[in-house]
């Protein structure tokens, strides 16, 4: 095997991945068994109603949650664990989950350390600056606003230059301006030939703007309702927001999710 930096982005192959949770009130079917392949270097957005199993699917791909028997996830033929062991995966969890006793910079640097990368304070600062946390390197999570914490968590994800990047609603706590800015500024850091990305998001425009492909999930038990390729050129810019393809896709996804229908119903 070649060194992590040199290798291309991995392919993720989920086969018959389903999930049922055992709860006090009996089994809860969350994901219908389903095959899914993420192409190397692609950015896939996952949208769907709250509670449909997006985070669960992401965790299964990461190998943090076991799929129901029969299901499997292979990343370039490897178990997810092997990829994690090599420090080639990064996850932005839905809640920032920073360690409260570490500073913002300390939390980011920790990921470097955990992934077995050499310490690189300059890179840590640069990333924190990029996510708008310049001046807060030494602040502890309790001294940061909700959005600032989330941005620190994104920086933590990116600092290791992961080959597989799993983002669970990474911009949910930031304002629209910051979100747009990050939507434009961060992807160049990861999209490209070396990273495969799965992005869970609640923002349909964001999904379309960032992804090569949008997966629309149904309510629980989650199935994939639609698999829509996004034919916008890269790098993505704000102009794309005004393109026809963009508007078409946003509407398409909205329709699949029933957003517009709801508007009609309600009238």
């Amino acid at each position: 095997m070649t060194a992590a930096g040199v290798r291309g982005a991995p392919e993720v192959v989920c086969a018959a991945v389903g999930k049922t949770f055992a709860t006090g009130a009996g089994p809860l079917a969350v994901l219908e068994p389903r095959d899914l392949t993420l192409a190397p270097g692609s950015v896939t957005a996952l949208v769907g109603p709250s509670g449909c199993g997006k985070s669960t699917l992401l965790r299964i791909i990461a190998g943090l949650e076991r799929p129901d028997p029969g299901g499997s996830v292979l990343i370039d033929g490897d178990e997810p664990l092997a990829v994690r062991r090599r420090g080639e995966m990064a996850i932005a969890f839905q809640d920032a989950s920073l360690l409260p006793w570490r500073t913002a910079a300390g939390n980011v640097a920790l990921a470097q350390r955990l992934a077995g990368r050499p310490a690189d304070p300059a890179r840590v600062s640069a990333l924190l600056r990029k996510v708008g946390l310049a001046g807060f390197e030494r602040a502890r999570p309790a001294q940061l606003s909700g959005g600032m914490r989330q941005r620190a968590a994104i920086a933590r994800c990116l600092v290791t230059e992961p080959r597989l990047l799993l983002l669970d609603e990474p911009f949910g706590a930031v304002d629209e301006l910051t979100r747009r800015r990050l939507n434009i500024e961060l992807p160049p850091l990861w999209s490209g030939t070396s990273t495969t990305t799965l992005l869970v998001t609640h923002s349909i425009p964001e999904a379309v703007l960032l992804a090569d492909r949008v997966l629309v999930m149904s309510p629980r038990p989650g199935t994939i309702l639609a698999d829509l390729p996004v034919a916008l050129d890269r790098p993505r810019r704000m102009q794309h927001l005004h393109s026809e393809e963009f508007t078409r896709l946003v509407e398409r996804v909205g329709a699949l999710l029933g957003v517009d229908q709801y508007a009609a119903d309600e009238g």
């Binding site: 994690r84 809640d95 360690l99 955990l114």
Partner: protein, 518 residues
């Protein structure tokens, strides 16, 4: 400030007055003036004695806590051995002082060995149990973080658990300060040349009540100082604010009853074998004379297979019932006292400041000094002894619960603040559930502690039950009986522990599921 000083002056004055009038000539309570006179007259002797005992206690404290940390690390890295380690640690903790003391003297000969060892033994378990609770007190999301980078138990330990366990470790370190001192002190009963223990035996036996009280005050002062020192360190190390520990209820709940039974039986079997092997092994290695160092088969013979075993069992049962009658109420009273005091302390910092020295004092004052007083006040019956047991049991509970009550997550506190919830209700609805892991840790510790305290009280003060039986056995060289009693005491302690643990699991499954797995 002035009022506090005035209050203290009044209290001391009242003490002097009562000592000189009501209690005059009874030699139960020293008077302040008498105590001061003793302290002045014997400054040098007491000072040296205090230094020796403090040194022993400090060494034992260090070794015991290091052992606790080492065992905890072992458990974190090899979770499979957790039960075995805990059971084994419990067995060691359960070894009664009456039996252990002379043995240690034989092994060590002259010097500080037994004192330091007994101090360490008194300490390590009290730290180990809460520390394990603390190492588990992490939300799933933090564990996911290290898992993201494929890191194993070691990294998780270093990066996450170690820091997260600090409050619980500190609780252990704080609660063990007086325990170490008391351990060293009792260790000096095994034929030490010097130290506060030696001085207090003499003071006690020569009706030197003021001297005894002076020594106890000194011991208390040292323990209190250590306690406050650790408390200070704990405050400095405190993590900002406890966070919500979200973690889903256990995964492996699908086990059938028979499977659980089988596992339990297997665990017992393994623990028993390890303990027996250690027993035989240690005796073989140290070359202890089989005249007093009885082996498992001697005990088996005495308890089960010899013709007189029936009579032996009856004798043991009678004594055990006597002890149980004291230990069980003492256990619950101590636990209750600990929880109630902790809650009161958390509600009123003033009360906390005023009563902390009293609480430490109660725990530090050796039972030999406090028992006669209590027994005089409360009568010689089971009640008096139960109170002694409660006093010896409550302190770790108090400390552990104090830390536990502080584990209310900041976000949850905000929710209560939204409704300006009075602190008593926050306590009930928030702090008590947040305290559950710490409380149960201390409830588990308290089970064997109560039993041990009961036997010590029986040995030193009341002359009843298993404690007296062991003392008489030791004095009359009935070593097989002694060892059999030790085995029975240990088994009873293990059973009590298991019972508490079963209750704990039921509660924590709901309140703190992260505690039920690694």
């Amino acid at each position: 400030m002035l009022r506090t000083v005035l209050g203290w002056v009044m209290a001391v004055g009242l003490w002097e007055l009562v000592g000189r009038t009501l209690l005059a000539g009874r030699h139960l309570v020293g008077t302040p003036s008498g105590i001061v006179a003793k302290l002045v007259d014997n400054a040098e002797v007491y000072g040296r004695g205090l230094w020796f005992t403090t040194r022993e206690a400090a060494l034992g404290y260090l070794l015991g806590n290091l052992a606790a940390v080492a065992l905890a690390l072992l458990v974190v890295l090899l979770p499979g051995v957790e039960r075995l380690v805990l059971r084994f640690a419990l067995v060691v903790y359960c070894l009664p002082l009456v039996a252990l003391g002379p043995l240690l003297r034989l092994v060590y000969g002259f010097g500080d060995g037994p004192q330091i060892t007994l101090a360490a033994f008194a300490v390590f378990y009290l730290t180990l149990v809460p520390l394990l609770v603390g190492l588990r007190a992490v939300p799933q999301s933090w564990l996911d973080l290290t898992a993201t980078y494929g890191r194993g138990r070691w990294t998780t330990l270093v990066v996450i658990r170690a820091r997260a366990s600090l409050p619980y470790l500190m609780a252990g370190l704080q609660a063990t300060v007086p325990a170490a001192f008391l351990g060293a002190l009792v260790g000096e009963f095994t034929g030490a040349e010097r130290g506060v223990g030696v001085l207090s035996i003499l003071a006690l036996r020569s009706l030197d009540t003021d001297g005894l009280w002076a020594l106890m005050l000194l011991s208390t002062a040292v323990s209190l100082l250590g306690y406050l020192l650790v408390a200070w360190a704990a405050r400095r190390l405190a993590v900002e604010q406890p966070t919500v520990l979200l973690s889903t209820p256990g995964h492996g709940r699908g086990r059938s009853a028979s499977e659980r039974l089988l596992r339990a039986l297997g665990g017992i079997l393994v623990t028993t074998s390890v303990v027996l092997a250690a027993w035989v092994g240690v005796f073989a290695v140290t070359g202890l004379n089989p005249y007093f160092a009885k082996r498992p088969w001697d005990v088996w013979d005495w308890l089960v297979s010899s013709p007189e075993s029936g009579a032996h069992r009856d004798e043991l049962l009678t004594a055990a019932l006597e002890t149980a009658a004291v230990a069980i109420p003492g256990y619950f009273a101590g636990l209750l006292l600990g929880v109630v005091l902790a809650t009161l302390f958390s509600l009123s910092p003033r009360l906390r400041r005023a009563l902390t020295p009293v609480a430490v004092a109660l725990r530090c004052v050796p039972v030999i000094a406090i028992a006669p007083l209590l027994v005089a006040a409360l009568g010689r019956g089971a009640f008096g002894t139960a109170v002694v047991v409660a006093i010896m049991t409550f302190f770790p509970t108090l400390v552990s619960c104090l830390y536990g009550l502080a584990q209310l997550p900041g976000q949850v506190a905000d929710v209560f603040a939204t409704y300006a919830t009075p602190s008593t209700r926050v306590l009930l609805l928030g702090r008590l559930p947040a305290m559950a892991p710490a409380f149960f840790a201390s409830a588990r510790i308290a089970a064997p502690t109560a039993l041990l305290a009961a036997t010590v009280a029986e040995w030193l003060a009341t002359g009843t039950g298993l404690g007296n039986m062991m003392a008489v056995d030791a004095a009359t060289s009935r070593y097989t009986s002694l060892w059999s009693t030790v085995v029975v005491v240990t088994l009873v302690a293990l059973a009590a522990y298991a019972l508490v643990e079963a209750v704990e699991r039921r509660v924590l499954r709901v309140v703190a599921p992260e505690q039920l797995r690694w």
